[in-house]
Amino acid sequence: MNKMMNLPPEAQKKIEAMMSQMPPEQREMFKKKLATMPPEQIKAMIQNLDQMTPEEKAAQKEKIKNMTPEQRAQMSRNEEMKRQMQAKMQEMAASGKGGGKPKAKDFSGTLKRLISYKEGMKPKFALVIVFSIIATGCTVLAPYILAKVLDIIQDKVVSGKDLNWTGIVRTLIVLGILYVLNTVLSMVQGRMITSVTQETMGQLRKDVNKKIMKLPFSYFDSNSKGDILSRITNDIDNIGNAFQQNAVQFIQNIVMIVGCIVCMFVLSWQLALLCLVTLPFTLICGRMIMNKSQNYFREQWKTLGELNGLAEEAFSGLNVIRAFGYEKNKTEEYFKKSEELYKSSRKAQFLSGIINPVSSVFNNIAYILICCVGAYFAITGSVSVGSITAMIQYQKQYSNPVTQIATVLNTLQSAVASAERVFELLDEKEEVETSDDYKTLDKVEGNISFEHLKFGYTPDKLLMTDINVDVKKGQMIAIVGPTGAGKTTLVNLLMRFYEPNGGQITIDGMNIRDMTRHDLRDIFGMVLQETWLFSGTIHDNIAYGKNGATEEQIKAAAKAAQVEFFFETMPDGYDTMLDEEASNISQGQKQLLTIARAMLADPPILILDEATSSVDTRTEAIIQQAMSNLLKGRTSFVIAHRLSTIKDADLILYMENGNIVEQGSHTSLMEQGGKYAELYNSQFAQD
């Protein structure tokens, strides 16, 4: 928040006023965003806030009234686009993408950390550098030595004397040794850099995965899944590609350029200067074309994005398009965008494609100059013919690295920036330890009590101020209330996905902070509304509930969850593979599968968080029957929005704005005629 201090006081006030209207989770996110936002963006945002005084709002309303329908539609579209654009910009700013080239904040520090990330990699990396310097050195020296051979030959041919065979053979042997050395070192170096890069990447990937398992849930509230996923995939890939190819290439390029230029000057400083004359032209010309094509590329990517959006929309809404016979309109729309894309990509491609032939002009001019001027010098005797051949080779060798080096450097920069993002994730705080001496419960009875529990997603704004509930073993507790009332939060605290800000929760008298999270979670079984299945067989997905479950136990659990028949009729039975989205079974079946999973776990305490909301009521009723068997003798917490399913609960907690407003049995709450009764009646309203 240091940045805010730099803002004028009235701007600070405005931002604070805006934040006070946000729900706590959103505020946290906003704060984070603010921290990464460039100052200009913050200013623009404040200006946006400024624009809407009540009078202006009224004026705008009046304006809108007078607009034609087309203008209105256009205006609304523009605003929505602007809103989306801003959201995207903020997202990109937060994830470090966009806004031009990604720059690392601490280039050398991050680079050092990356190289020494995996044990034993640093010396290997040092060897890679040494080897590639030597190997490139060999390549640089070769033409120089070649020139010697040619000169010896030339000398004798011109003078008509006998060839100095020993001299030639000796130099050729030296040359041969250089070539062999180059080849061997390149091979060894390549192997080593592969192992360094790939091992490091693998380690990074695995460490990030492990880290994710240990991060507190608050981290996931303020960071999008897409962002985390992109760190583990795109960023790590980015690092890998850069180091596999560009790191070595960078070293080679430098050695090559310096080596070539030195050798050229040694051979003939006049020809070397002649050769360097064309270099600035190549660079400037390349840059000019590049800049121009950049605009077209930007347009191309924009159009491509729009086109893909169009296709995505059409493919997702295919059933609607079919139903209303809109195939032709959509096709026309697509074709039009497609044509636009064709036009912009053609231009972009053309411009970027001519860089090569155009810059080859300058290279060829240098080539011609060396040949002709060199030949002229040869007549005067100031340059040997061998030197000309060598010069031609040097000219070819050094011009490529020169054009490459800027790109290589950029890639390395962005790789280090990627590494920075990965390290940032690896350095996040993990779930806190809450005791030095964890205890275990030998036998779980299932008496639970919440005592003066306080909790807020941010400490300064409490959602729950004082929760007190006493649960006897074997009771069924229902938690009801409107969205955002804190029902799931209560369960999250019980499972220690979050830590309370005050008060405590005890199980059989033991504070849950005195148990390890692992031991605590062993006590619970959980079924969530989000039916999480992983790609694997049905069998594996059920078996997830319990380590080392037997075949019989799995089948029994499936039977209890009323899915036995269904799974047995699947083509491969329990071995049917579920794909990542589990699109081959219905939502209801997915839900039943997760119930089977919880049943298999056979825990002393059960939590059902909207577990049956995506199955139809009849199936729900059937599951309920099976559930009631499972729930017998166990303490259970049930969050439900269909009140018919929780009427029989021993204790119903009605929550609102984070606190328990009413608690009691169904009949007592109905008699009370409060909020619960109102909600119940509204669900079963007569029409």
Partner: protein
């Protein structure tokens, strides 16, 4: 893949021919320079200044020709490549948009989207590289050999030795790396997939204490990927220095023997140095070609995925001699003994279902998850063709009429409310393209949308973002009902379309619907008994069969399945009172 390209490149015969020609010119000019340099240097050694100037001019001309050819070539390549991708892209879209429900399910929406974007991009890149590299490589190689031969026949045996060696090395490299690269994408996808699962299932993973299991699962796929990549690079790391060594080795040979030949007068000094450059070029061509071939598996896979879309045989066939349906206003539906089975499945999804209805009647369909309700609707509006039996709408078998004609008689509210990017009014007009503002207003009123639409600053001109992200689920559902209502049809189908509405809005909406749709048949699929209580006829589906058929009262009295559903939802007084 090549077949795919061939089919589309056929449309640009002139330009493709020009590209081949210009590539030839460009390659020839760049290769001719060394050829010209050899007499220059020879002239230098002979002290012939005039020849040097003459050759300098010739070389200058060659360079100019080269750049003109290069730029022109690039122009045509950009044209053809982008044009071809546009054509392929358009064909793909046209195909997909005409898919029936079943066709669509075969490949999957997510996959279709990625084929349209990712695979198309891969093909575009491949095509580009094909023209830029693949075309040049053989030309460079042939030209290199030809020039080398004309420069010095006596040195040419070195090329004869070199070529097979290079070819064998490359062949081995490609053969060994191809399966590795082919496997790579799958392995990358798997790593990403497991990671995505971990992120979405965080609560479940921790609740079940399965962190270690997940870590192991991830380690397995991650190590698998690492090993594969290492294997691929290992080969590449051997092959590339090897090729360089071949080039260098041939230089040694050329020099060694060249010196001898020069002495014997078989070759000039300039010949030897030009020869060195030609062999380097030939090997370069080999490298270019093999690099392209190594990239092939990726492109091949993309081409296969695109072809797969094209090869889908439409499951719905347009009647060859379509019967014209009567004008809208003679609503009736007659379903007799229909069954439906997915191709390849062993069991029916729907079995022997019959019912009929005429204008003003409401048919309700209720049943559990997976009982076949949505499939039934799909069959009725011919998104799928029945396996047995027949569906007649307004007296015409749906298979005998043109699909456009049929669709004009039906208005559907899908289960998943889907809106398009565009204004609210644009979205409503999907139902009836020429609907007036008044008609749209009326549809919004009936669907209970007006209350929230009017609150918006731009009213019905409010822009809906892609996939309707700026309206709530209930609002989306109401708008999609309005869209169906604006269309004047004979059959209105509501596929569980009231689920996201609160009970009050649901009741009010249905009240107004009855009056609105009195000249049409209404078919409602629902999960809530209260939604369908007043239907003229209720069909209870279970496992694709009708297990109950009658009015609410009849079913309550006689049908256990229906009663179970009702009991699980309605308060006791309601059940009794109804």
């Amino acid at each position: 893949m090549l077949k795919l390209f061939k089919r589309y490149l056929k449309q640009y015969p002139g330009q493709v021919a020009l590209i081949v020609f210009l590539t030839l010119v460009f390659t020839a000019t760049t290769m001719i320079l060394p050829k010209l340099s050899s007499p220059v240097i020879d002239a230098g050694t002979a002290g012939d200044t005039d020849s040097i100037v003459r050759y300098a001019i010739i070389m200058g001309v060659v360079v100019v020709i080269a750049v003109i050819a290069g730029v022109l070539n690039n122009y045509f390549i950009s044209n053809v490549v982008m044009g071809t991708t546009r054509d392929m892209r358009n064909t793909l879209f046209e195909r997909v948009i005409s898919f029936s429900q079943e066709d669509e399910n075969m490949i999957g929406t997510a996959s279709l989207i990625s084929r349209q974007s990712k695979d198309m991009l891969t093909l575009q890149m491949t095509l580009l590289q094909m023209f830029m590299m693949m075309l040049q490589a053989p030309l460079m190689c042939i030209a290199g050999i030809a020039l080398a031969l004309t420069t010095s026949v006596s040195l040419s045996w070195i090329i004869v030795v070199l070529l097979p060696l290079a070819a064998i090395t490359m062949g081995i490299a490609i053969k060994m790396t191809q399966p590795i690269f082919r496997a790579n994408q799958v392995k990358v996808d798997r790593v990403n997939g497991v990671m995505r699962e971990t992120l979405t299932g965080m609560r479940v993973i921790r609740a079940f204490n399965r962190e270690d299991y997940e870590n192991r699962r991830f380690e397995d796929v991650s190590d698998d990927l690492t090993n594969n990549v290492k294997k691929g690079y290992k080969i590449m790391n051997l092959i590339l220095p090897m090729i360089v060594f071949l080039a260098n080795g041939s230089n040694l040979l050329i020099l060694g023997f060249g010196a001898d030949y020069m002495k014997k007068g078989l070759a000039s000094y300039g010949d030897v140095q030009a020869f060195v450059q030609y062999t380097t070029m030939i090997l370069m061509a080999f490298m270019l070609g093999s690099m392209f071939l190594m990239l092939m598996p990726n492109a091949q896979a993309s081409a296969e995925r695109i072809n797969e879309v094209w090869d889908v045989v439409p499951s719905i066939k347009e009647s060859s001699d379509p019967v014209k349906m009567p004008e809208v206003g003679n609503a009736s539906i007659e379903v007799s003994h229909i069954s439906y089975r997915f191709s390849g499945a062993s069991q029916n999804v729907l079995t022997d279902i019959s019912f009929s209805a005429k204008a003003g009647e409401t048919i309700a369909i209720i049943g559990g998850t997976g009982s076949g309700k949505s499939t039934l609707l799909n069959v009725l509006c011919r998104n799928m063709d029945v396996t047995e039996g027949s569906v007649k709408i307004d007296g015409v078998d749906v298979r005998d009429t043109a699909q456009d004609d049929l669709k004009n008689h039906i208005s559907l509210v899908p289960q998943k409310a889907f809106l398009f990017a565009g204004s609210i009014i644009d979205n409503i007009r999907y139902g009836k393209p020429d609907a007036t503002e008044e008609e749209v207003r009326h549809a919004l009123d009936i669907s209970q949308s007006s209350e929230f639409v009017d609150k918006k600053e731009y009213g019905m001109y409010t822009y809906i973002a892609q996939a309707g992200t700026n309206v709530s689920g209930g609002q989306k559902q109401r708008l999609s009902i309005a869209r169906a209502l604006v269309r004047k049809a004979d059959i209105y189908m509501f596929d569980d379309s009231f689920s996201a509405l609160d009970y009050k809005t649901d009741a009010k909406l249905r009240g107004e619907l009855a009056g609105e749709l009195k000249n049409a048949v209404t078919i409602i699929v629902a999960q809530r008994v209260s939604t369908i209580k007043n239907a003229d006829r209720i069909l209870v589906l279970a496992e694709g069969k009708v297990v109950g058929d009658g009015t609410h009262d009849e079913l309550m009295a006689s049908n256990t399945v229906y009663r179970e559903i009702a009991m699980s939802q309605l308060s006791e007084s309601e059940v009794k009172g109804a």
